[in-house]
Amino acid sequence: MTAVLDTSVAAPSLTRAPALQAAGITRAFGPTPVLAGVDLVVPRGSVVALVGPSGCGKTTFVRLVAGFDTPDAGTVVLAGRTVVGPREAVAPEHRRIGVVPQEGALFSHLDVAGNIGFGLPRRGRTDEGRARVTHLLDLVDLSGLAARRPDQLSGGQQQRVAVARALAPGPDLVLLDEPFSALDASLRVSVRDAVMAALRAEAASVLLVTHDQDEALGVADLVAVMLEGRIAQVGTPEEVYARPASAAVAQFLGEAVLLPGDADGATVTCALGTLPLAAPADGSRTVLLRPEQLELVPIAPSATGSGPGRADEGPIAVVQSIAFHGHDALVALRLADGVPVLARSLAGWLPRPGDQVAVTVRGAAWPLPA
């Protein structure tokens, strides 16, 4: 990081510290280890998505960060303050963390303004507090609903109030635990966009927990993939999607075509022919292609009888099945030598099961680390 070399540091170093630095976090429930040494950094002002399949330990991790549970080992540093160390665990109320649980968990005995002002001095009943509440209501686009009761709000509105409530005291870190998964699919995207816009407007440092890889890739500055109680990879959405650290990461983040190949510096030879590599590699390696890199070309019935097709059409495959999604379709294919591959077809043209098609590859193959 360049911050180390920056000599014009005027602000105290604390404010330069990342919002969250977790190191070596372990936690077991009885004999079952849930977290097996988690390291994670949330830079100030950035949105980090913690993504992983159900049961990978994501929720356990955020509860430890929030202080609702204590890790067996490891340290948690929030904006430069150590809140979990070898012999200490700061209480949740002293951590300056905003929490947005899955169900929102609004205080049912308070109205919307009372909920948002809850974490402010004198629970928001000051001039400053009222101004802050009004500002946040505007920010989440709920001005006019200040006097509503939580049970008079839709699910999406409740979730926006929960976010405003978490933001009100200006926390060093905002934890969102699957905040959109309880919403209808039709609402989810609009609520997510509104919430992320509010978080960005407040320049909040955010750790967003989700099991939805599209959500993680779509809204985050950095994506941390958690598998079996460990962080398997951290990177920008493009990095983790196109250059995953392992086959498991590749498969979790989307449909993956994994092929054994023989790498020779800049190229690799595999079932789909000789392809350029996205990074230099040598020897026997597994390479990754995403289905959208595979393009299908129809083969005229007359052409099939006359040979294996022209070289630029690529290898021939037989269509096994098609999963139609409306905006695209995922086509399962079997190559001549029996290797199964997937192709995403965006074009208006769709083959039918049993058809023979030619497969061409766009872009480079990613060699998985050996």
């Binding site: 209480a91 949740p92 649980p101 205080f107 929960a162």
Partner: protein, 531 residues
């Protein structure tokens, strides 16, 4: 979700332990009393005691059998047939809970003096207790997955075969739980057997106390009565445990409706007879006495004073119960563990003890430990706390469990200490449920008889004690206004219960039913899980 690995704060444990200690006072008395073994043998091994035990068990057995039969039949009719005006019938069938057994007994024995004795006691207690079976069985019938009965029918079973092989086995735990509740009530009842002059434990213990307080005899008989009650409580607990493991997710779908057809008229006649005997006859009798009684028969000043005294005592009891129940209920809901379980069970002591035993025990406590408040208000309120703490604990626990833990965690993150969370989030969110518990304690205290009779402050009369004095001398006109007021007060929770019972998927613990000795118990009793 439980806060694993976090110990409950001392400011919760300390008052909860105090509540448990108060609830266990009668146990302390019984243990001390049981110490004199020689006296125990002397009293136990007499023919009189054996006869007394036999009479008590006979009454308990007969009433339990009759109340179970009526309760199951009525529940099945309500849940499974095309009975017209089901909702009204349901409320009507729960209303007998509003007539305390001593008022029912007075009405019947005044109308038919020949009923005095075993027959009258059976009649009055059966009418007073069958809703304890009706309510849990009705709830269980509404919870039985209709798919089970449909599958059985599709496998070639007729209507009766389905009932016998599928429905009844599904609700059997609820029947058992309700029946044992009835048995406990009968064993504990004091007023009805006293007015019917049928000698069972409670009446004889009261007599032993009255006749110059024969402490040994009263204590030994109390021990024997408690031993029988404990056996019943253990059985009841087992029945409830089984019921809890069986129940799956609530199913909203309606089950197949059985058409009554020509059987409708005898069914209506039967239900009508039960409602008439349980509610209509007592209500009309009291109304008649009120209307025909001469103006001079009622001492207005005495009535006003008794009402004031009752309200004051009931308010004190409700406040004391809720104050002690909050730490216990919060502990049980939020820090489940061995400590919480132990404390909560201790506070349920009053649920298992007959009122007369609690009364005798508190007299002893007053004489031995609290001489300054003996025959004073604080000791009586303390006795009410022992009796009715379970009601308040159940209400607080249910209300706190219904308030989301996540909201409390969010409040912690927003800067509240655990005590602040309790004050600003947990209690405000649980307030409606806790208030309902307080009202329940209030209304139940107003009609309580045996403890009030033995412990009411010298010179203070309550509604129940005034009523009792007038009933003992058969002064109907003087008794009428007291009886009317007590029945009206008791009708409130009964009506509420009847209306709630008709909601198919009510959350467990929300519905409440009257328990032994006229106390109201949480609906965990109604086939749900035991606290």
């Amino acid at each position: 979700m439980a806060r694993t690995g976090v110990r409950a704060p001392w400011w919760l444990v300390a008052p909860a332990a105090l509540a448990a200690a108060i609830a266990l006072l009668p146990i302390w008395y019984l243990v001390v009393r049981a110490g004199s073994v020689a006296a125990v043998g002397e009293v136990l091994l007499t023919e009189a005691t054996v006869r007394l035990t036999a009479r008590s068990l006979l009454l308990t057995g007969v009433v339990t059998a009759l109340a179970s039969a009526i309760g199951v039949a009525a529940a099945w009719v309500l849940a499974r047939t095309d009975l017209p005006r089901v909702r009204a019938w349901q409320v009507a069938l729960v209303l007998p809970l509003a007539v305390p057994s001593y008022i029912g007994a007075f009405v019947w024995v005044e109308a038919f003096p020949a009923l005095a004795g075993f027959a009258g006691a059976v009649l009055v207690l059966t009418l007073a207790t069958f809703p304890f079976v009706l309510l849990p069985v009705l709830a269980a019938l509404q919870r039985v997955d209709p798919a089970l009965e449909e599958v059985a029918a599709s496998l070639g079973h007729g209507r009766l075969a389905v009932a016998a092989r599928v429905t009844i086995p599904q609700v059997r735990p609820s029947i058992a739980a309700g029946a044992l509740l009835v048995a406990l009530y009968v064993l504990s009842d004091f007023g009805a057997v006293a007015l019917m002059r049928y000698e069972v434990f409670t009446w004889v213990i009261y007599g032993a106390y009255r006749s110059g307080f024969d402490p040994t005899r009263a204590a030994v008989l109390s021990l024997l009565l408690v031993a029988i009650a404990v056996v019943l409580v253990v059985l009841e607990g087992r029945a409830r445990g089984r019921a809890a493991t069986r129940i799956g997710a609530g199913v909203a779908r309606r089950t197949r409706v059985v058409r009554l057809g020509a059987a409708r008229w005898p069914v209506l006649l039967g239900l009508g007879a039960v409602v008439a005997a349980g509610v209509v006859v007592p209500a009309l009798s009291i109304l008649g006495w009120v209307l025909t009684g001469s103006a001079g028969a009622v001492d207005g000043a005495a009535f006003g004073q008794a009402l004031l005294a009752s309200v004051r005592l009931a308010l004190l009891a409700a406040v004391a119960c809720v104050l002690l129940a909050v730490p216990v209920g919060v502990l049980a809901a939020r820090w489940p563990g061995r400590l919480a379980r132990g404390v909560e069970r201790a506070t349920y002591t009053g649920h298992a003890l007959p009122g007369i035993v609690v009364a005798i025990a508190m007299v002893y406590v007053g004489v031995k430990l609290l001489r300054p408040v003996y025959q004073e208000t604080p000791l009586l309120v303390l006795a009410y706390v022992v009796l009715f703490l379970p009601l308040a604990v159940g209400a607080v626990r249910t209300a706190v469990e219904a308030s989301p833990v996540r909201a409390e965690e969010v409040a912690r993150s927003l800067g509240q200490t655990p005590l602040g969370v309790l004050r600003r989030v947990t209690l405000p969110q649980a307030a409606p449920g806790i208030a309902a518990g307080a009202v329940l304690v209030l209304l139940t205290t107003m009609k309580e008889l045996p403890v009030t009779l033995l412990l009411h402050p010298t010179g203070t009369q309550t509604l129940a004690t005034e009523l009792w004095d007038h009933m003992l001398v058969s002064d109907r006109a003087a008794a009428a206004p007291y009886a009317a007021l007590i029945v009206l007060g008791a009708a409130l929770p009964a009506v509420l219960l009847g209306r709630m019972g008709q909601l198919g998927g009510q959350p467990s613990g929300q519905v409440r039913a009257e328990g032994p000795t006229g106390r109201t118990v949480p609906a965990e009793v109604l086939g749900g899980s035991r606290p």
